[in-house]
Every structure is written in structure tokens, then in C-alpha cells.
């Protein structure tokens, strides 16, 4: 640690496609001990497993190379350790890729790849999925199963002299909890401490979202400098107090309102927030704005840790076909609705779950509230599922055919077909999971 008894962790990515530059600023100016990049959503890993099945040397995050070329020199220069789940479906291949880039850049680096989350061979297809209440096999062809590992899986890697720790599926907060346990000597069996560590990880894991990203509103929540939005770092004291902040001069804001929004984000029960490390309680968390762009978080607690780990199971869920076409000017919405009625007649017999929305009117909330002013323009959107791509393509084809077979003045037709990878969850006994670490050096 660069400061006595204070651990500083930055978060430079909250999802796979996050912006590249905020991490550069964190690495250059924040005097970090650790940089965490959280890049793995539920479905992302299933898609990565699909890529790996086609080519065994792939299956890691698509932006890995771009990020590493940019960050490796700065990580080395400023002595910052990197923790990331960009390994996705193939952490060892990701480590090999990082080493190849490091050699090219003539940077000496050691990478630790954490594996053990891939439990595809251990999953019983008869297991009941939490979402559907039905056995997994009924969902369709299964393509991946990844257990959420906890902070303990990262500790052997952290205890080594590796500069980069790259993982597959690890619970997002655990990416932060692990360096806290390692550097501050925290006891993983002290569940109040783990609860607070998880609160800190949860506040940080979405990067820009605690700094004004996904928060700003031009009327009620004005935030300056959004184009230069800074990503956060947190100073963690040995007593568990954490101060979330960002680099001076970056855009955005960190205040009570941004911290509250992030604390409750994706929480389904604030009394029991499940991670592999702890069942955390967020209801005693205290947030306090200490100075400008600094929020103190304390009071996270916990009781125990779950006996099971969650497993995300990917399965082939067919294809979605979509089509869109716009109408503008007099009676735009009425013409769009007529187009929708025509398509309903043409498609509904073969696609009983046909979805018809009007962009500019009711597509985003799937409804409207109160009196709605007639929009100047409206865009018809039609979507349906099909077992194969050819059938799904019919949706877009029929939308496009409205050009010559539908209402007047339709324009900007677009059609899409996408394969759908569904995700179901099951629980697995944590004792059946054995993680391991593989090292690579340049």
C-alpha cells in the first residue's frame, strides 16, 4: 500500500463495453494501489463460452487487447496491481494474451489466472432452475455453467507477486473484497467486516455510476463535466471506513444522492444481499458527504456466508427477429398504429407472442401514464421469437415490405435477427468448487 493503513482501489470499468479513458486517468493521477475492471455480465460469459467452443484460444473479453495496450505501461510505471474478470470464459488464454502484449511492449509482468468457476461438467441437468421452477434441461440446449466465486478464490493469486489477477466469473463485490482481505488483514469469518467490505465493493463495482453516470438529469440532477466523467476510487481504512472519491478535475459528481442510488442498485433484499463471501445487511449503512466529491460509507454488516454458490447457466433460446419503421408529420402515430394492425394480421398466426410497440409513444415503459401529447413522429417496432434464424427473419422482412404494402410515408425501415442466449440460475454446494491459480510471466 502506498499510504500507511489505507488501501486505495480504483474502479475503471463497470461493464464490458465501458469507456477506456477513465482508467487511464485513474492510473496516471490517482496513486492507486489496485485498479479493478468489472467487465462480466450474466450473459457475457455465456457468449464468451460460445466463442471459446469455436476457438479454444479465445473466450476472454473482446476489449482485453485494447485495454491492456493502453494500461500495461501505466500499471507498471505507477506500480498498480490490476484485478479484472476479463478472463470471462477463458482466464488462462487471457493471461497468455496479456503476456504476448507485454512482450511486444517489452514490459516485464506476471499474470495470475484464477479458474474453477466453470462448472459445466458438474451441473446436473435435472436441477431445478430458480427462475422457472423447472429442470434445466427443459430450457433447451445448455452451453455454459459458471459459478460465482468469492474473494477467497483470489487470495492465493494476491499472495503471489503477480501484477495482474485475471478471473472468470467472480461475484462483482468480491473483486474488491479480495484485496481488502489481503492488504488489510481482514478476517473472512468476521461477517460484519465482510458485510462492510461488500458494501464498499457494491458502491464501486459500476464505476461511473457512483460518479454521476446514469444519474444526471438536465432539470433535477444537474452534473457538470459529464463528457469528462471521472471513475471512482475508494480509500479503505483498517477500521472499515471507506471514502469514495474521484480525481480532481474530472467531470461528474460524487455525493449523497449518487451514493444512495448506487447502494440500492440491483438489490433485491437490503437485509440479505447474497455474495459468496457474506450475506450482507445494507440497512445499517451510513453515508456522509465529507467534502466535495467525497462520500464516507460505513456500517455495512453481515451474519454468515451462504452454503451454496449461484451458478449462471447459459442455454440456447432460439432467435429474436425485429423490425422497425418510422412515420412523421400529420397523424404519424395513427399511421404507425395502422401499420402495426396490418402486421399483426400478417404475422400473428405464425407468431402468437408477437410484440408491437410504438417508439416515441409506448415502447420503453411498455405503457403510458396520463394524457400523452400526440408525437410528431412515431416508430413502429415489431419483435418475435422463433426457433430458427430464417423464421425470425420474417419479422423484419414483413416490416420492410410495408414500404410498398403499408401506410403512406413510412421510412427508415431496419431489420435484425439475433441469436438468444438465455440465462438460468441454480445453486451448487460451495464445497464442490475448487478454484486454482495459473501463473504466466513475460
Amino acid at each position: 500500500m502506498k499510504r500507511p493503513n489505507i488501501l486505495r482501489i480504483g474502479c475503471g470499468a463497470g461493464f464490458s463495453g465501458d469507456r477506456l479513458e477513465p482508467s487511464v486517468i485513474l492510473l496516471e493521477k490517482a496513486e492507486l494501489d489496485y485498479l479493478v475492471l468489472e467487465c462480466l455480465a450474466e450473459r457475457t460469459i455465456a457468449l464468451a463460452q460460445k466463442r471459446k467452443a469455436q476457438d479454444a484460444s479465445t473466450g476472454y473479453d473482446p476489449l482485453l487487447e485494447k485495454r491492456m495496450r493502453l494500461y500495461l505501461p501505466l500499471l507498471k510505471k505507477n506500480n498498480v496491481r490490476l484485478i479484472t474478470n476479463m478472463g470471462a470464459a477463458n482466464p488462462i488464454a487471457a493471461a497468455d494474451k496479456i503476456i504476448a502484449i507485454a512482450k511486444e511492449l517489452r514490459i516485464k509482468i506476471k499474470v495470475a489466472a484464477v479458474t474453477g468457476d466453470d462448472v459445466f461438467d458438474k451441473i446436473n441437468k435435472e436441477t431445478i432452475a430458480l427462475e422457472t421452477g423447472e429442470p434445466l434441461y427443459k430450457a433447451g440446449e445448455l452451453i455454459s455453467a459458471n459459478a460465482y466465486l468469492g474473494a477467497d478464490a483470489l487470495l492465493p493469486a494476491l499472495q503471489s507477486d503477480a501484477d495482474i489477477i485475471i478471473t472468470g466469473r467472480v461475484a462483482d463485490p468480491s473483486l474488491f473484497v479480495a484485496p481488502m482481505v489481503h492488504e488489510l488483514g481482514w478476517d473472512m469469518n468476521d461477517f460484519n467486516v465482510m458485510g462492510q467490505a461488500t458494501v464498499i465493493g457494491h458502491l464501486m463495482e459500476c464505476a461511473g455510476q457512483i460518479a454521476g453516470g446514469y444519474f444526471v438529469d438536465p432539470v433535477k440532477k444537474q452534473v457538470e463535466g459529464m463528457a469528462q466523467l471521472g471513475h471512482p476510487y475508494v480509500d479503505i481504512h483498517t477500521n472499515g471506513e471507506a471514502i469514495v472519491s474521484k480525481v480532481n478535475g474530472t467531470g461528474g459528481v460524487i455525493n449523497l444522492a449518487t451514493a444512495k442510488e448506487q447502494l440500492l442498485y440491483e438489490v433485491t433484499n437490503p437485509h440479505e444481499y447474497f455474495t459468496p463471501d457474506v450475506i450482507a445487511d445494507f440497512t445499517k449503512v451510513q453515508l456522509q458527504e465529507t467534502t466535495q466529491n467525497c462520500v464516507l460509507a460505513q456500517g455495512g454488516t453481515g451474519n454468515t456466508k451462504p452454503a451454496t454458490l449461484k451458478v449462471s447457466v447459459g442455454y440456447k433460446a432460439g432467435f429474436i427477429g425485429e423490425g422497425e419503421i418510422s412515420y412523421a408529420g400529420a397523424n404519424a402515430l395513427a399511421r404507425a398504429k395502422l401499420a402495426g394492425e396490418i402486421l399483426y394480421e400478417r404475422l400473428h398466426p405464425d407468431f402468437p407472442e408477437l410484440r408491437i410497440d410504438y417508439i416515441g409513444y409506448n415502447s420503453t415503459h411498455r405503457t403510458t401514464f396520463g394524457d400523452v401529447v400526440e408525437p410528431y413522429e412515431a416508430r413502429l417496432r415489431v419483435a418475435a421469437k422463433a426457433a430458427d434464424a430464417t423464421t425470425a427473419a420474417r419479422i423484419g422482412e414483413e416490416v420492410e415490405a410495408l414500404y410498398t404494402n403499408g401506410p403512406a410515408g413510412g421510412g427508415g425501415a431496419r431489420k435484425y435477427v439475433n441469436e438468444v442466449i438465455g440465462i438460468l440460475s441454480v445453486l451448487i454446494d460451495r464445497n464442490t468448487i475448487q478454484s486454482s491459480v495459473t501463473f504466466r510471466e513475460s
Binding site: E261, N269, K284, T367, F369, I423
Partner: protein
Amino acid sequence: MKVKLYDIAHSRAGDKGNTLTLSLIPYNEKDFDMLCSTVTADKVKAHLKDIVQGEITRYELPNIASLLFVCKHALLTGVTTSLALDTHGKALSFALLEMEIDNLQ
């Protein structure tokens, strides 16, 4: 006097499978008690009747003067397989903020 929740509070939506989470955070912490008494789970369920098919549970977090609504069966099966335009339901925070309440203060 009727006010929209948008005028006095902010919200962020989150998703876990087919479950939608909606925070409700008053700009002024003094409004927390008023929101507790007026924005009940039943009222939110009625407001979001076209969106949420399942049960809505309300959690009160006086420590941060905020409410959290957890809405089951709300996302047309969830992000990976939903036919909705907004598969995550991310924009639904502003559906909650469209709700009108009697501002008693």
C-alpha cells in the same frame, strides 16, 4: 396538492432475472416519512399495473432515507430473453417517477 414523484424524488432501476428493483430517494430527507406513508407497495402496484405482473415488496431504509421497491415478474422474463425494447427495464425508474401523490406538506 398533487405532485409527481419526479418533482421530489429520484430513482434508479435494476434487474435480477425477471425481478425489477426501483429505488425511491427523496431530494430532501425530510420527505422520507411522507413518502413512507403515501407511496405504499399497493399504490405502486396499481401505478405499474401494465408493467409488473407479480408481487411488489417495499423496503424502508431510514438509514439513508430511501425506499426500495422489489417487483417480481416485471421484465417479460428478463434481460436475456425479453421481447421488450428495453430488455433490462432500465428506463422503468422514470415510470415510477410518473406516479402522482397528494403532497401533504
